[in-house]
Subunit: 377 residues, 2 copies
């Protein structure tokens, strides 16, 4: 076992007990609500955590890349839902991962793509099923839930070929909220709009076996609806400063951090310079529109203890500039070149994506395991 | 050979003839000025391009990670300069790459680290030489050029042990400029301040064998100073929208782009939705403070032709939202789901870092080679 002083920086650190608590929080919530939970693997991209998800939640998963299917199917997942609207030139690669133990469902928002899927099935025998992607706020791909004609046309096309599974939605706007009342309203809207589409399809005799909704904030809100068959979330396992700003976790519950070495002390601008720049932290500024702007991250001591009002105020490719938050009377910690600090991320998905492994620590801050992670599409 | 329609998206594309022209532009400039040129490998992180650099510029290189040394030393580089202020716990790993054919120079800005280097040499026999990092604007690590006492103390400590090579500076502020007059002023300041430190050291009988300065904008400015022994630049090989905004390249000269598939058409917000989000483009918003804000990138047709005023206005993890620039009368191209577009990056270093390979295309937009790239520290 290594301690954090001995490992090469910058690198990712997972506090295993926080990770477990975050997973157990969702586990207890979905057990109580008696609803299926489908973890989104786009955040963790890691076999060890995926296996824990399977133990806790069963063998269905959401993915944002085909790479996630290929890398993680051997963990025992038998029901993948691919979240990004599908295009024809990805079907052949997806089909290679199909097996009697591995069903793959894609999402569509246009009749032409539904027809492509049906033709692909006819021509190749590869059965890639689909959900209809719904969109509430017109912000990207997806169909408006009340767009009856489009819904029924796609639903019937897929259904007639035995490829239709149901509808999928994601309350992405929940990330911009900041209190429980707004979150409940957002979660209710997510469920109501989704169920509107389900009822429109049902009137046309098209049954949704899968009614899947969710985002970490809406899943963790107090809203519950028994007609929804499945909830999804991704960042819940790590949490991050944006989620703390939304109000669904405390900063102390964030399981992921970046370990960094102090490489210089700049007294002129009262700054600690570290070897974690945007390559290690990402350029995500998700907290910039929240009540507490953490710059590029909240700084902690090596043992994970928060240093109040000390944040990463600026980044270059391999340099992070740590300063006291503007307007605060706090002081920088007395620290020397070569010592290490830890930085909590704005957005865990983006920060994790900058690295190829996780250093997993126990309660004594000793590295007990190193888990690989991957990127790519 | 594949055409761009056949390869899996999102992915990186290098236009080989633009890459060659960009490299030849620096080659011709440094040949004329009769000065050594040390390419910074942090942008490309690729063996094939590194070999071209060696052919054109010789076998010295700048790196921002030790991974770059380990991955690229076999290309034939015998003089690495590591750009990030060194800390003790990185010395052992660096020492492993030293050989009679491979010298490694690190940068220091504090006497304590100079002493560590000397002790490391005494204790292990591993000779890691060093330059003093200079800082003009007090923005991160480095010593003020006029800080005589610090300069001479570090210089003497390293020099007495036979580890001193000279001084290193980087006009990072050049990235925020936008015309040739400002650039020349910035480049002159970079040279003058660096030479001030050289003269202070010389007065103390400490000779700088290496006087290395540079950033892509200042190197490409019209300023020249014969007392400088070496210029450095990194992003020049690819260029990007930020460099176009600085005024040192045309948008048409950018050699790097992200190939992406159209996954949905959103008529409600007049947008094309593509499968390149911030995972593929990065979250860099470097053009946001420039005269032309390109959002998250400039959109081109599959063949590389620019689509005027059509940019990526927003990104999520795996979704890019393409719209017409606000205030423009341009129209979105008439394009269907499944077709491909190319996106020029704000910042080539950040966008390249999101990928693990380059698809290299010829003048007919055919993929002739795939070059691996790497990340990590």
């Amino acid at each position: 076992m290594q301690n954090l002083k001995e490992i090469f920086t910058p690198c990712l650190v997972i506090d295993k007990s926080k990770l477990s608590k975050n997973i157990q929080r969702i586990k207890s919530l979905v057990s109580k609500r008696k609803i299926n939970f489908r973890p989104h693997l786009k955040t963790v991209k890691c076999k060890e955590i995926t296996k824990t998800f399977i133990d806790e939640f069963g063998s269905s998963a959401m993915v944002s890349t085909i790479e996630e299917i290929e890398q993680l199917k051997e963990c025992g997942i038998n029901d993948f839902l691919y979240s990004v609207a599908i295009v024809p030139n990805k079907l052949n690669r997806i089909a290679k991962s199909l097996s009697k133990n591995c069903e793959i469902t894609v999402s569509v928002d246009h009749i032409s793509m539904a027809q492509e899927l049906v033709n692909f099935y006819k021509n190749t025998g590869s059965k890639i099923s689909a959900v209809i992607e719904l969109d509430f706020d017109g912000h990207r791909s997806g169909i408006r839930p009340k767009a009856k004609q489009q819904l029924c046309e796609i639903g019937k096309c897929l259904s007639d070929a035995g490829l239709f599974r149901g509808v999928m939605s994601h309350a992405g706007e929940s990330y911009s909220l900041s209190n429980n009342k707004e979150l409940i309203k957002c979660a209710k809207n997510e469920a109501d709009q989704t169920l509107l589409a389900v009822s429109i399809l049902k009137e046309a005799s098209i049954d949704c076996e899968l009614v899947t909704i969710g985002s970490t904030p809406t899943v963790l809100s107090d809203y519950q609806n028994n007609e929804i068959t499945e909830l999804r979330a991704g960042v819940f396992a790590f949490f991050d400063l944006v989620q703390a700003g939304v109000g669904i976790c405390r900063v102390e519950e964030i399981a992921l951090s970046v370990l960094t070495s102090v490489i210089s002390i700049n007294k002129e601008i009262d700054a600690i310079i570290v070897d974690a720049g945007w390559m290690a932290l990402s350029r995500d500024r998700g907290t910039s529109s929240q009540k507490f702007d953490y710059g590029y991250g909240q700084v902690c001591f090596e043992n994970g203890e928060l240093i109040d009002d000390v944040i990463v105020t600026n980044v270059q490719q391999e340099h992070g500039i740590i300063q006291v938050r503007k307007g605060s009377n706090a002081k920088l910690p007395d620290i020397k070149t070569g010592e290490v600090l830890r930085i909590l991320p704005n957005h865990a998905c983006a920060t994790a994506a900058a690295h190829s492994s996780y250093n997993v620590i126990n309660n004594k801050n000793e590295v007990t395991e190193v888990w690989d992670r991957f990127n790519g599409w």
